[in-house]
């Protein structure tokens, strides 16, 4: 779960990392006074807001109110700005990059640091980025911070500030279950202080059970996405017109690939996870009916449940909702044939294999209007 900048900065501050003084508002009238030059920053969970006009400078209250009124409501690459962060403007001497992230190949938290901060880290040449994994059995030690500070080539007093921020950032990632904690830019001010200019923190959504304070954050979800989330079903909206229901991420993607082979295009897809629980299959069919695809393709590879039991749930959902679009169903496992007979009697199109199902659904989607 991504945190807004102002929340991420509050988390940094909680862990002792310096951030500029600031406050968040949702209406320009909430700005009563500003202490010297400030920045007004759109709070959206997408990059590139500066280029989109979502960050403005102001020196006086009136300017700040005007900037805030321009930014609030602004649509930045599909995200509507509801709040802005008003914070003290830093006098920037240098912009660094410092981040900690989960690294698959070293199976560890990995520090990334660069003296070329301020821009997207992906556009910084590799030789200018230090990658330093922290062996979890060793844990963070002061030498990690010294290595990073040395790489950044800073004078002594700033080096010690950076090393201290490294230690706190690692501690933050461990304690908050952050899969990403990124400070970009990490600003060195003209006065020689090292302060977080911006912050991106992503909390591991699988760890929210032990971080109840994050769990209540509002999310921008469509009603269908909300329903899917409540059912623990992955919901993805694509361009095509075949509604795909499958169990498991890999199988769902393989179903998409197979449809594509036969000229079809997937629209909404629902991934139930690895389960073949008939109740969940039934809920997914009901949900899919609301998404109104042109054809529905159900692909369930059964592990525990018998196919006829799954088919019974599908048929119940179909009867409850009178779906009215071609429904191709492939349910693999024990009692497959009985399930196919049941589906056929219901006017659905049973299929025995993945390719066959993909071909049938593609044909249905390409036929007609």
């Amino acid at each position: 779960m991504k945190l807004y900048e102002y929340m991420a900065k509050a988390v940094l501050s909680k862990h002792g990392i310096p951030v500029p003084a600031g406050f968040v508002i949702s209406s320009p009238d909430q700005i009563r006074s500003v202490q010297g030059p400030v920045m007004i920053k759109a709070q959206v969970l997408i990059g590139g807001r500066g280029k989109a006009g979502g960050i403005k400078a102001a020196d006086k209250v009136e300017d700040a109110k005007k900037a805030a009124s321009q930014i609030i409501g602004m649509n930045i690459r599909g995200f509507v700005t509801k709040e802005v962060l008003v914070e003290k403007r830093l006098e920037i001497a240098k912009e660094l990059y410092l981040g900690v992230t989960v690294d698959r190949s070293t199976r560890a938290l990995l520090f990334m640091a660069s003296a070329e901060g301020g821009m997207d880290i992906e556009s910084v040449p590799e030789e200018k980025i230090m990658m330093l994994p922290v062996n979890p059995l060793i844990g963070y030690q002061p030498f990690h911070g010294r290595k990073i500070a040395t790489f950044l080539g800073l004078p002594n007093d700033q080096s010690s500030q950076v090393a201290s921020i490294c230690e706190r950032l690692y501690d933050l990632a461990m304690k908050e279950d952050a899969e990403l904690a990124e400070i970009n830019p990490l600003v060195v001010t003209k006065q020689g202080a090292v302060i977080a200019g911006d912050a991106k923190i992503t909390i591991d959504s699988d760890a929210l059970f032990r971080h109840k304070d994050y769990a209540s954050l509002p999310e921008d979800l469509t009603p269908l996405e909300q329903k899917a989330k409540a059912l623990d079903i992955a919901f993805v909206q694509l361009e095509g017109n075949i509604g795909v229901i499958a169990n498991g991420a890999g199988l769902t993607m393989a179903t998409l690939d197979s449809i594509n082979m036969f000229g079809g295009k997937a629209g909404v897809f629902l991934d139930l996870g690895g389960t073949d629980d008939p109740e969940k299959v039934k809920s997914a069919v009901l949900l899919m009916a609301e998404a109104k695809p042109k054809v529905i393709l159900l692909n369930i590879f059964g592990g525990i449940t018998k196919c006829d039991t799954v088919a019974k749930g599908v048929i119940e959902a179909n009867q409850a909702r009178k779906i009215g679009v071609p429904f191709v169903a492939r349910i693999k496992g024990v009692n497959e044939e009985a399930a196919r007979d049941m589906l056929r009697n219901e006017g659905m199109i049973p299929a025995s294999g993945l390719s066959e199902a993909a071909e049938l659904a593609s044909k249905e989607s390409l036929g007609g209007a």
Partner: protein
């Protein structure tokens, strides 16, 4: 021979009294697996389907000679369960539990690897060597004994492909589902190197998916170290960039982790790549 699990495997099921633990311990037994014990704190002394339940893993090792653990406990307790198994001297741990906090996985995986413990998962379907043993939740009926080694990031897609291999009149030496999470105890390279050494395995099938770079790394490894023929399928060829496709790792982000890059790397290493899962058995014939 086979890899990771075989005739010598003696399984302790951690979390045996839950629905999944109960169901799958029975299914493992039906597969021919020696399920020697289960654990469930507070329920020691009872039995599940004739399998004795202990308070701790170390008791199951001492009393029943357990050498392999299959973990079904819920995510909040999974790190504790895995560390307990490592501490009890279990040599192979299969973690079925999904939605595990990644830092928990990182912790016990590093401890396990440092102690020479083989950890499969988390969030994986397990390991099956037909005719010998299965540790995990893979459906029994799809397997046939044979010479194809299967390694996969997926769950149900693994079943789909194993089923296609069996329908195509091939069988499996061992099938390993390494799990789709970002951090896993065992990766493609670990398993490829075991298959290359395993005498029963004559051909290898690798099932990957978009996201990350482990398929590219596997391709590099195959080029240098694997002489046995390898067939691959990469799921998500038609997945759009920027959309997370269910698995934590399955996302094309910032142009990285695309199916094209993986397929290109694998083909450059001499691997035949199937366009759809049902093509895998055809490519095994060639």
């Amino acid at each position: 021979m086979s890899i990771i699990v075989g005739n010598e495997t003696k399984v302790v099921v951690q979390g045996i009294t839950g629905y999944q633990g109960r169901y799958h311990s029975e299914a493992m037994k039906e597969f021919g697996t020696k399920v020697v014990a289960g654990t469930s704190p507070g329920k020691g002394g009872s039995e599940v389907n004739g399998v004795p339940v202990y308070e701790s893993v170390s008791e199951s090792v001492k009393e029943r000679g357990a050498n392999t653990s299959c973990i079904f406990v819920p995510a909040p307790f999974c790190k504790d369960a895995a560390l307990e198994a490592i501490d009890a001297g279990i040599g192979t741990i299969v973690v079925i539990t999904e939605h595990l906090p990644v830092l928990d996985a990182i912790h016990f995986i590093n401890v396990g690897r440092a102690k020479g413990v083989t950890i499969i998962g988390p969030n994986c379907p397990g390991v099956a060597s037909p005719g010998k043993a299965k540790v995990g939740i893979l459906p029994n009926k799809i397997f046939a004994r044979g010479d194809v080694g299967v390694v996969s990031k997926s769950g149900t897609l693994t079943y789909e492909i194993v089923n296609a291999i069996t329908d195509g009149d091939h069988g499996q030496s061992t099938c390993v589902g390494i799990g789709g999470d970002r951090v896993t105890g065992t990766d493609f390279i670990d398993i490829l190197s075991l298959f290359e050494k395993d005498r029963q395995t004559k051909k290898i099938v690798l099932v990957g998916e978009i996201g990350g770079t482990s398929e590219e790394e596997a391709a590099e490894f195959i080029k240098e170290n694997v002489k046995k023929p390898v067939v691959a399928y990469i799921a998500g060829r038609t997945a759009p960039p920027g959309k997370r496709m269910g698995h934590a790792g399955a996302i094309i982000a910032r142009g990285r982790g695309t199916a094209e890059s993986k397929i290109k790397a694998l083909e450059a290493a001499g691997v035949k790549v199937a366009k759809i899962p049902t093509d895998v058995p055809n490519l095994l014939e060639e």
